[in-house]
Structures are given as structure tokens and as C-alpha cells.
């Protein structure tokens, strides 16, 4: 087994891993701050991917260029979903919350099908397509971009959450909303921001993914199931956990797909998930 092969496996494993991680971080951020599971999270990814594709075919905007705008678009979309939908069901029962985001999922899928059809679209010949050759090691460019872009986005989010005053307020609202409100923090604003930042994470993942993956109305399901696993593995509400678990899942499925069989590539992921759920139900890490 050559160094070249190992390098390729690691890069594509990390590429997928960072994408899973970014999706999972968005999910866990929303859950961590307000204990609502966004069942439409995969559809947020789908919207981001369509946006990236449409920006490319309409204006010729390469995903590298449109990435920050898609992150911003998804931020606004997340905030809007909070104010128009989530805030209205917060005082209701747990079921109302589940059905609200589940209903949003069904609605967004149907809307995508209606406007874009069921066809698969892919961005051809983006700047980040092709391969890069370092010595005699040939690496896929989109995956490298995914590693670089997603790790930068993750770093930014970490800095925001753990190093700024706003991040402190977010964590305060997450840990004790009532106590936070006695300290001048409006929990509702923090919830809206959590939806905004969580959705922006998915937007970045969508943009990076659009370099090497096709988009269709149900594309969200392909990725978000593993993101849910990453969230549960890492511990609901834990950003560190989502990051570590996302990377682990990415590497594990690529290794399994290569060494055993690509049909079985998710088997060890779900086995690991079952083991953690059985042995350590709160996940590898605690809360944020």
C-alpha cells in the first residue's frame, strides 16, 4: 500500500468528514442553545447547494466566489425560519416543535421538486475541480478545498462562540435562559442567532459540497443522517463532539469503502454509533 494511496484516502476522508462535521455543528448549535432538533437541516443543505448551482449557471459565479454569499443567505434564511416558524411553536408541546421542523422538511423538499424538478444537477469545471499533484501524490482538488474551507469555517465559529462577547451570550442563553435574561440578554435574539449561525454552517458545507457532489431534492437525506449520527456520537449540544465525530465518520466510511466494500462503508459508522449509544448515551462529549 503506497503513501500516495494513504494520502488520497486521508484527504477524501477528511473532506467528507469536515462536511459532516460542519453540518453536524450547525445542528448541534441550534440544539445546544434551544433544545430543538432541526429535522429540516438536510433541506437547508439542499437549498444551499441549489443556490450555489444556480449562482454558477446564472451568473457564472464560481462556488469559491459565491461561498460567503451563500453563508449569508443561509444565515438570513435560518433567522427567518426562527422568527416565522420556530418562535411560534416554542411555547407549545414537544410534538408541535417536532412537527414544525418535520413539516418544514417536507415542504422544502416539495418546493425544490416543484421549482427544480427531480433531476440531478452538478457544477462542471469549477475552479476547484480536477486534481493537484504534490511530488508523485495526486490529490482531488474539491476534497482539499472542503478540508481547507470547512476547517476555516469551523475555526471562525469556534472563535465566535468561545472568544467573543456575543458567543458568551449565546452560551449563557444555552445554559440558563432565565438567568441570562436577568443579565440583560434577550434569549429570543440568541435563539435567532443560533438558527442563523447554524444555518450558515450548513451554507458553507453546501457550497463546498457543490464542487464535487450533484444536487437534487433529496440530497439532504444523504448527508444529514450521518450528521445526526455525528451529533449523537459527539453528545447533543457539543460543538467539539460534533467536530470530532464528524471527522471520525468521514475517515471511517472512506477506509471501510476502500478496504472492504463501498456498499458496507457506513456499517462501522452505525456500529460505532450503537456502541456509544449503549455504553455512553450522552455521547463522547458533554454540553457546550
Amino acid at each position: 500500500m503506497s503513501d500516495q494511496l494513504i494520502a488520497q484516502l486521508v484527504v477524501s476522508g477528511l473532506g467528507m468528514g469536515f462536511i459532516f462535521a460542519l453540518i453536524a455543528i450547525g445542528l448541534t448549535l441550534i440544539y445546544g442553545v434551544m433544545e430543538v432538533v432541526n429535522f429540516a437541516h438536510g433541506e437547508f443543505l439542499m437549498i444551499g447547494m441549489y443556490a450555489s448551482y444556480l449562482a454558477y449557471v446564472t451568473w457564472g459565479a464560481d462556488p469559491v466566489v459565491s461561498l460567503p454569499f451563500i453563508a449569508l443567505l443561509m444565515f438570513v434564511f435560518g433567522v427567518a425560519v426562527y422568527y416565522l416558524l420556530i418562535r411560534r411553536v416554542l411555547t407549545g408541546s414537544m410534538h408541535a416543535q417536532i412537527f414544525a421542523t418535520f413539516g418544514l422538511m417536507v415542504f422544502l423538499q416539495a418546493a425544490a421538486q416543484f421549482f427544480m424538478g427531480a433531476d440531478y444537477f452538478a457544477i462542471q469545471n469549477s475552479w476547484l475541480s480536477g486534481v493537484i499533484t504534490i511530488g508523485d501524490v495526486v490529490l482531488p482538488m474539491p476534497q482539499i478545498a472542503a478540508v481547507v474551507g470547512a476547517s476555516l469555517a469551523t475555526l471562525l465559529l469556534y472563535a465566535l462562540v468561545f472568544r467573543t462577547s456575543l458567543g458568551r451570550q449565546l452560551r449563557a442563553a444555552a445554559q440558563d435562559a432565565q438567568a441570562a435574561s436577568t443579565l440583560g440578554i434577550n434569549p429570543s435574539t440568541m435563539y435567532a442567532l443560533a438558527w442563523g449561525f447554524g444555518s450558515a454552517c450548513v451554507g458553507v458545507a453546501a457550497s463546498l459540497l457543490s464542487n464535487f457532489y450533484y444536487v437534487f431534492p433529496r440530497v439532504g437525506a444523504v448527508f444529514v443522517l450521518l450528521a445526526y449520527v455525528a451529533v449523537a456520537l459527539g453528545g447533543f449540544g457539543s460543538i467539539h463532539g460534533a467536530l470530532v465525530a464528524g471527522l471520525l465518520i468521514g475517515l471511517l466510511q472512506v477506509a471501510m469503502g476502500f478496504f472492504v466494500s463501498s456498499e458496507l462503508k457506513f456499517v462501522p459508522v452505525y456500529m460505532l454509533y450503537l456502541a456509544v449509544v449503549l455504553l455512553r448515551p450522552r455521547g463522547l462529549f458533554g454540553r457546550m
Binding site: S165, A172, Q175, A179, T182, I185
Partner: protein, 246 residues
């Protein structure tokens, strides 16, 4: 400074407070006494808008508090140290204190607040980088009081700061509350232990079943047996004239 007029409040259909009127003057320490479940915390939480008001008014330096959302109170100069301290357990002592200054607080305000907090409770400085959840009960209570002071409030509401503290810690917290008051902060204090509360306060209100049943200067209340009677319910609420509350 703080005037609560004929306040009725509670939780949904469950009314807890009935026609409660209390006031806290500038520079005063006022104690809120009463048996368990008599509505002391509910009253304090209604003042800071965490509990739904059914009727009545709450005014603070002329501002109608009952029209504000809870997160606006810090800016008008009122700070509330909630029952059981309610620190953010997964944040450091320093982060908890920084949050106490409120969103958008200036560096200067935070710096001033930290100096004051560390002067009041030197051990918080040693613990600054530790998670708040890892402190002892007494240290957590100190941190909560220090956090409540970070915004430089004019009135501090403190709900049972002595619960579960060792005698040594009690003395330290008592002394801190005295010093805070000496610096010009008015204090509304809930404390179960009647002699302790009366010794620390200028005036006191005794609540029973959600009504004010007795009020007066703490020194007078400490002398007689009225407080005991009020606790045991032998003092009819009707005997405590509403005028006493003002």
C-alpha cells in the same frame, strides 16, 4: 426607589401573590421573610419580570417595570441574584462575571466591576479561570453576588444567599452585603433565618400565603413576638393595614 403596589401574580391559573405592596427606599436594606412557599421568590421574580403579573404596578425610580421585558431591567439599574445562584456552570468564573456587566458593556465597566468583585471576594480572583460549576457552594454564591454587581446596579435583589453555606462563609457573605450597601446600593434580601435577616436589614416584610401580614423596622420586629405569630399564622392578614406597607 422601588414601589410595588397591590401586586397580584402567579403561574398560569395558579395565583400566588395577592395584593402585595412593598417598597424599598434609597440605600435601604429590606428583608423579605416568611415560611417556605409563602411566595417570597415569586414576589422577587415578579419584580424582575420572570413571573407573570396579574394586576398591580411595579415602579422603579418612576419607571413602570411591569411594562418592560426581563432583559431590560439591568439597564435601568436593577440586578437580581436568583435563588440557588444560577451561575452558568460550564463557563469560567471570569466569563460569568463578564456576563454580569450586560451585553455591550464597555471594557472600562468590566474592568471596574472585576476589581470591585475581587476586592469583595478575593478568592474569586484565584478561581477566575475555573469553571463555575466546579466551585464550592459558598464560592458559587459569592460569584453570583459579584456577578449581580457587575452592572453597577442601584438596587440588588438577593434570594437566599446563605442557603447551604458554612458559618465561616455566611460571615463572609454577610460582611460583603453590608459593604455593598455601604457603597450606596439598596438591597432587597430573602433569608429564612429570622434573627439573621432582621439583624442585617433596616426594615422587613413578612409574607404568608402570598400576602404581606406584617411589616415594620427590623429592630422593632426583632424585639417583639409578632414575627413568630405572623409565621405561625396567628396574625390575621386583615390586622396588617395596607398603609403599613408604604
Amino acid at each position: 426607589m422601588l414601589e410595588v403596589e397591590r401586586l397580584s401574580a402567579g403561574y398560569g391559573a395558579h395565583q400566588v401573590l395577592w395584593d402585595v405592596s412593598i417598597r424599598v427606599g434609597d440605600n435601604e436594606v429590606v428583608a423579605l421573610l416568611g415560611p417556605n412557599g409563602s411566595g417570597k421568590s415569586t414576589l422577587m421574580n415578579a419584580i424582575s419580570r420572570l413571573v407573570e403579573r396579574f394586576d398591580g404596578e411595579i415602579r422603579f425610580n418612576g419607571i413602570a417595570l411591569h411594562e418592560l421585558p426581563p432583559y431590560r431591567l439591568l439597564r435601568v439599574g436593577l440586578s437580581h441574584v436568583l435563588e440557588r445562584h444560577r451561575l452558568f456552570p460550564y463557563m469560567t468564573v471570569l466569563e460569568n462575571l463578564q456576563l454580569g456587566a450586560g451585553p455591550g458593556a464597555s471594557r472600562a465597566l468590566i474592568q471596574r466591576g472585576l476589581e470591585r468583585a475581587y476586592a469583595l471576594f478575593p478568592r474569586l480572583k484565584e478561581r477566575a479561570k475555573q469553571l463555575a460549576g466546579s466551585l464550592s457552594g459558598g464560592e458559587q454564591q459569592m460569584c453570583a453576588i459579584a456577578r449581580g454587581l457587575m452592572s453597577e446596579p442601584r438596587l440588588l435583589l438577593v434570594d437566599e444567599p446563605f442557603i447551604g453555606l458554612s458559618p465561616h462563609m455566611r460571615a463572609e457573605v454577610t460582611e460583603a452585603i453590608r459593604r455593598i450597601n455601604a457603597e450606596g446600593v439598596a438591597i432587597l434580601l430573602i433569608e429564612q433565618n429570622v434573627p439573621v435577616a432582621l439583624a442585617m436589614s433596616h426594615r422587613a416584610y413578612i409574607l404568608r400565603e402570598g400576602r404581606v401580614v406584617l411589616t415594620g423596622p427590623s429592630a422593632e420586629l426583632a424585639a417583639g413576638d409578632k414575627v413568630q405569630k405572623a409565621f405561625l399564622g396567628r396574625l390575621n392578614p386583615a390586622e396588617a393595614p395596607a398603609g403599613n406597607a408604604a
